[in-house]
């Protein structure tokens, strides 16, 4: 071999191994970009895949046209009663949703007073957006307002009773509502104090208390009519239950998670018992227990309001799930962080607040948001104890004889599904965005 290649062709005539004619052109390479290549790579890479694609196409052809006809083409957009919707060829009855929208939104809240609900919802939405907007100024202030001032004022506006409980006995209905407010306010203040610098927190608490007691007398002069919780309903109650659940479950969950990892055996035992007990049973049984057994646990005159009972159940239920999520975050904080904080001479509270929790919570943002989504979906179960939430309103609306018809229930459920989907999907996208932002510094 070596000899042949080193000497090369010596004779003038062509040696036998050199080609005398050009080879035939090769076919051009298969395109790797462009729509055809995309189709080949993503839809028809092999025979099995091609079969799957064709089956998928057939499925879409089978599903989409009837769906489009039902939702848009054959839908009834405006009508005064259910006659047009009862026609066999009619599609979704959006007229029914338009007509019943007030009921779906506010339940039986007096129509002349719904501005109070609207005001609360708009204020809540503004504060939430402000608090969650990634680069907004004063996000901390918005969060503080959302967790302390807002719940107190919201209860005051919605119920019409002054948000100041002194002088009210728990036995009167107004007194009960006022006590609800007090509990919320105390809780909110306590959890906020935990996050703030100690002196700022106390200053805010004291000023808030003075302002609040002044507010009480001013509030009475407004003479807002009282609206009992038995009239509350619809989307507004769903959002209320979800908000109360979220506001309570995060701080309570953090407390339970810290308790579960505490050095004190009594605290640890109690936290573990509570967490494992509530996690082991369905939400329905927790709600029924809160509804029927809670009034037994307190003196007869203290019997909690009918809306307050499921709120306690929901808050407790979501708090224990939150506790497990937060525990995961606490476990992910490296040991060196604790040791570093201790070597700086921080106390346990300082270490937890300034070093451990900020890192632990950021790690588990997806888990926290998942709990919020689960909580939002679970608010539908409060109907079991007679609370008129959005889904219950939709499920009741279809029985109205003016509208009742074969298409009404489907229309109502589709509307409800769109509502829940927007909220839950929005939350999950938000958490993905935050996750990306937080991991930007860590990813290589």
């Amino acid at each position: 071999m070596g000899a042949t290649s080193s000497t090369g062709p010596t004779s003038p005539s062509q040696p036998s191994f050199v080609r005398s004619a050009m080879t035939a052109d090769r076919s051009p390479p298969v395109p790797t970009s462009g729509p055809l290549a995309w189709l080949r790579d993503n839809l028809f890479p092999g025979p099995m895949s091609a079969v799957a694609t064709i089956l998928g196409l057939l499925f879409l052809l089978w599903v989409i046209p009837p769906l489009a006809r039902f939702l848009f083409l054959d839908a009834i957009w405006s009508a005064d009663n259910g006659d047009a919707c009862r026609a066999p060829e009619a599609g979704a009855c959006w007229a029914y949703v338009r007509q019943k929208f007030g009921f779906f939104m506010y339940g039986s809240y007096p129509r002349e007073d719904v501005w109070r609900v609207n005001l609360t919802l708009v204020a809540g939405a503004v504060l939430t957006l402000w608090m969650l907007w990634p680069d907004a100024r004063g996000r901390g202030g918005a969060a503080l307002a959302f967790f302390t001032v807002y719940p107190v004022l919201a209860f005051g506006i919605l119920t019409g009773s002054p948000p100041f409980p002194i002088g009210w006995l728990p036995s009167s209905p107004e007194g009960q509502i006022a006590w609800m407010v007090l509990i919320v306010a105390l809780f909110a203040t306590a959890s906020t104090l935990f996050y703030l610098n100690r002196y700022t927190g106390w200053a805010i608490a004291i000023f808030g208390f003075i302002a609040w007691s002044e507010l009480g007398s001013w509030w009475s002069s407004l003479e807002l009519p009282l609206v009992g919780t038995h009239l509350w309903g619809g989307i507004f109650v769903s959002l209320l239950v979800a908000t109360v659940g979220i506001v309570f479950s995060l701080p309570l969950g953090i407390a339970l998670a810290l308790g579960r990892r505490s050095q004190m055996p009594v605290l640890r035992f109690l936290s573990v018992m509570l967490i494992e007990f509530v996690r082991g049973v369905p939400l329905i049984t927790v709600l029924v227990m809160a509804n029927t057994m809670l009034p037994l646990f307190v003196p007869d005159s203290w019997s909690p309001d009918r809306l307050l009972r499921p709120l306690i159940g929901v808050a407790l239920f979501s708090a224990v799930y939150m506790a497990e999520v937060v525990r995961g975050g606490l476990q992910s904080v490296p040991k060196g962080q604790y040791e570093g904080a201790m070597s700086l001479g921080l106390s346990w509270w300082q270490m937890t607040r300034l070093v451990v929790l900020p890192q632990a919570l950021v790690t588990v943002i997806p888990g926290i948001v998942n709990s919020f989504i689960a909580l939002f979906k679970d608010t539908t179960l409060v109907a079991i104890v007679g609370i008129f939430d959005f889904l219950k309103a939709v499920d009741t609306g279809r029985l109205d004889p003016v509208w009742a018809g074969p298409k009404i229930s489907t229309t109502g459920y589709v509307f409800a599904a769109i509502f829940y989907f927007i909220f839950c999907f929005g939350m999950s996208r938000y958490s993905m965005m935050m996750e990306r932002r937080h991991s930007a510094g860590r990813s290589r």
């Binding site: 895949s49 990892r261 049973v281 227990m289």
Partner: protein, 471 residues
């Protein structure tokens, strides 16, 4: 990790000073005890005031209400304790069937989301996002009220399929199935012993030919041989097997006759045998490197004894088909719309979560693992079986168990569509009739707690066994 602060003497103020910790704990314990004491006093007083029973005597009182769906004998004259058992069994049945379907759908969708096929991946994504982001209760209402309730009546039932196969002579059929299973197993094991590609190809061809011959023989053999009055072991049947209408789903159901006692026991024994065999095969593989055809032998262990039992039982084993009689369907087994809607809703909902778990599990196996296996010369199916799935399962199993528990707990939503599960019967009807709220809620919670804790124990055992042993 769990006691980050205890490894060395803590600096000043790093954790509560001993006496302070002790004082805090005593204060908490006293506060809880005081609250509990107060609560017990209040409960006793309130129960006396409202005339609420405080013992468990009601369990042996006559229930007086009827239940349409029960796995055990039950009538209005049965006791509340019996009603509790009915509810418990119904809950377990819904959970078991729901878990079965949720697992199948979830794994299929999870794999489809990672598929190279754009269409399959997108359809799976849409399914997961839509189902996960709407409440389960809404979906149950949708299936029950908007899909199942408006179905036509029995005379206009939706029937599937229009034509079907049936087995007119189960005895001959089971004999043929046994013969087929044994023969294909022998053939496969012979083929696996053959070395050399040309001979191997011939082996494949022979087995394929043999299989076709067997199928032809099963279909038409008895007719040709003139066995009894059978027209064939399988026979084309005119008419549907499955009917769906507003009264529920009607399915064919085997009537076992004399084999009713033996068949379940034999199937259970074969299942235990097959599991034992697969463990033994695994130990053989790990110790001696011998790879056995686990799937085929397990199938053999499962099929042959059951088929032989049916064959031995002779003509007493038949299949009961639903048929239209008058204005209703008779025969077969009826799945009530409530049960159908509940299982459908629970399976589809849980499947969307399982799909995400499966996807995360597959993605968690580092790419280097399959590349290393390829470099060792393993084939794709072997890599999947021995490298990827075992590692993915370590990630998948714990959250999967959680989803199974969630499905079991979510089955309590049955109360909203009127399926008689534990919560609907016990916390609903029995609580209303007897008023014994503390006893009833405690029993119900205890049932769910026991299920959860048993599963957690099993899970901890599994986790300890499967955890990566790090140095």
């Amino acid at each position: 990790m769990s006691d980050a602060t205890s490894s060395r003497p803590p600096p000043r103020d790093a954790r509560p000073v001993e006496w302070r910790a002790l004082a805090i704990q005593i204060a908490i314990a006293l506060a809880i005890l005081w609250l509990g004491w107060q609560a017990i006093g209040n409960v006793a007083e309130n129960m006396r005031a409202r005339n609420i029973p405080s013992n468990f005597d009601f369990l042996s009182a006559t229930a007086g209400f009827d239940l349409n769906q029960s796995l055990i004998a039950y009538s209005a004259t049965s006791t509340y304790g019996r009603a509790f058992l009915v509810g418990l069994l119904n809950t377990l049945a819904v959970a078991a069937i729901g878990i079965f379907f949720a697992t199948i759908i979830g794994f299929a969708v999870g794999v489809a989301r990672l598929s190279q096929n754009w269409m399959a991946a997108k359809l799976a994504t849409i399914y997961v996002e839509v189902i996960r982001n709407t409440p389960l209760l809404l979906q149950l209402f949708f299936w029950y009220t908007a899909v199942l309730a408006p179905l036509p009546g029995p005379r206009q039932s939706i029937s599937l399929p229009a034509l079907g196969l049936r087995m007119p002579d189960p005895q001959a059929g089971m004999a043929a199935i046994t013969a087929f299973a044994l023969a294909s197993f022998v053939l496969l094991s012979v083929r696996n012993q053959i070395k050399g590609s040309a001979i191997k190809a011939a082996g494949y061809a022979i087995s394929a030919l043999f299989m076709i011959l067997m199928i032809v023989a099963i279909l038409f053999g008895p007719r040709v041989a003139g066995f009894g009055n059978a027209v064939g072991i399988l026979d084309i049947r005119d008419g549907a097997y499955v009917f769906l209408n507003n009264r529920g789903l009607f399915l064919p159901f085997p009537s076992l006759g004399e084999a009713a006692i033996w068949l379940p026991a034999i199937i259970l024994a074969s299942a235990i045998g097959a599991t034992g065999f697969s463990f033994w095969a695994k130990s053989q593989r790990e110790e001696k490197g011998r790879i056995l055809p686990v799937f085929w032998i397990s199938m053999l262990i499962l099929i042959v004894p059951a088929a032989l039992t049916i064959w031995a039982a002779g003509s007493s084993v038949t299949i009961d088909y639903p048929q239209l009689r008058g204005f209703n369907l008779a025969g077969g087994v009826r799945v009530y719309p409530e049960f159908f809607a509940l299982v459908l809703g629970l399976s589809l909902y849980t499947a969307s979560f399982i799909a995400e778990i499966v996807r995360a599990g597959i993605l968690s196996v580092a790419k280097g693992q399959s590349e290393a296996a390829l470099a060792l010369g393993l084939r794709r199916p072997t890599i999947l079986k021995l490298v990827i799935i075992p590692q993915a399962m370590r990630v998948v199993i714990p959250p999967l168990t959680n989803q199974y528990l969630n499905l079991t707990k979510n089955s309590s939503l049955a109360v909203f569509i009127g399926f008689p599960d534990l919560v609907q019967i016990f916390v609903g009807t029995v609580l209303n009739q007897t008023g014994a709220m503390i006893q009833i809620i405690s029993i119900t919670m205890a049932v769910y707690l026991v299920i959860s804790l048993l599963t957690s124990l099993a899970m901890n055992f599994y986790n300890n066994k499967m955890a990566l042993s790090e140095r």
